[in-house]
Amino acid sequence: MSLEIKLQVFEGPLDLLMHLIDKNQIDIYDIPIVTITEQYMEYINAMQKEDMEVTSEFLVMAATLIDIKCKMLLPKEVNEDGEEEDPRAELVEKLLEYKMYKYMAYELKDRQMDADMQWFREKNIPKEVKDYEVPIDFSEMLGDATLTKLNEIFQELLKRQEDKVDPIRSKFGNIEKEEIDMDAKTLYIKAYIREHSKFSFRQLLEKQHSKTEIIVTFLVILEEMKLGDIEIEQETTFGDIIITSRKAS
């Protein structure tokens, strides 16, 4: 059966299916799956010929239709309640839900056209109101700030200055200067790989202290793996990584 569809663009596979169902005036609860699948495939083929974009969603639906078609040929499956299961049921449900929202979309569009006739106005604040400055409630602003407090704060500041302590940096914890020589680190790890035939990643990390060192170690391991000098195994997620060296002497 040839299908005269002027290739129109559908929102998606469900939209196309709805179109085919409407066009054939089919009862959505009793879809002749063979006919619909044929027509659907015809459309997809036509789309491909016309160089239209056939997105993966259309192909997934094609697969679903063919799957349903196959199941229809097989003896019917029976569910827990002993009822026969219709392989089309899930698709029908999907189509109905989609159709419902499509219908609601039209309903909303009507409402929108109606609401478009109501107009609003721009904000228009009179100059006097715009220029008005809210007076400051000084007693509220000061709160418990007294002259004594003001004096204390200033004394504190002077003291800080005397101590020549940077008020910001003094609040930081201890910062250790890190000196990592990347090249040296890389050489060290490469040497380790040559010296050990099999070792764990954790074992290698034991000698590394800072975050930067660990990151460098990890990167070197990745690099070595890429070069094929080592092999890596990890049995479980977050488990230890076992490294086997091919270059070990």
Partner: protein
């Protein structure tokens, strides 16, 4: 404060602000209870219902806003430029209706119902100010949840989400009847 005075203040505030104003904000400015403000709003609604009023009042969830009456449209278009409204394509309308009825909803759920990736549509609706992020779902990947905005209510003449056109089994039954009728028609030919 008399009802007339109260109503005049609410009117002045709404007129000046143009935009919707929360009833609680009105109450605060007027140093009174929201309950009282609602009385003034009722008074205004009655006043605006008269023939000599070109203005109306719409309620949006817990806020109110002034607007022109629909009957005035024909005169307004003659003198003023129609406010620019976002043109919603079918795919945007579809996505919007799903979000409106199923909110809060994730992108993935919208996609499941439509059968196609809907990220672009959702993003456009957010750009148009009709849809907003509501937070994140407490599930793997913590996907964003979307819902409609106040602008949605205004644009679609809906007072609150409860006011959305009813949806449910009735429609489904109607579809069924329609489908059956269509088949009969076919047979009749």
């Amino acid at each position: 404060m008399t009802r007339e005075e109260g109503a005049s203040i609410v009117e002045a505030i709404l007129f000046t602000m143009g935009d919707s104003v929360e009833i609680s904000a009105l109450a605060k400015a007027m140093e009174t209870e929201s309950k009282e403000v609602k009385k003034y709003i009722e008074y205004l609604k009655e006043k605006y219902s008269k023939e000599d009023s070109g203005i109306g009042l719409i309620e949006l969830e817990s806020a109110v806003q002034l607007c022109t009456k629909k009957e005035m449209y024909e005169y307004l278009v003659k003198i003023a430029k129609a406010p620019k409204k976002a043109v919603l394509t079918d795919s945007l309308m579809e996505t919007l209706s799903i979000i409106a009825y199923k909110q809060p909803i994730t992108r993935l759920e919208v996609e499941k119902i439509r059968g196609v990736n809907s990220d672009h549509a959702v993003n456009r609706l957010v750009e148009f100010g009709l849809v907003q992020e509501l937070g994140r779902l407490d599930a793997p990947g913590r996907p964003l949840l979307f819902g409609t905005t106040e602008e949605f209510l205004r644009s679609f003449g809906v007072r609150s989400l409860e006011d959305l056109p009813a949806i449910g089994t009735v429609q489904v039954e109607e579809f069924k009847a329609q489908a059956e009728q269509e088949i009969n028609v076919k047979l009749d030919i």
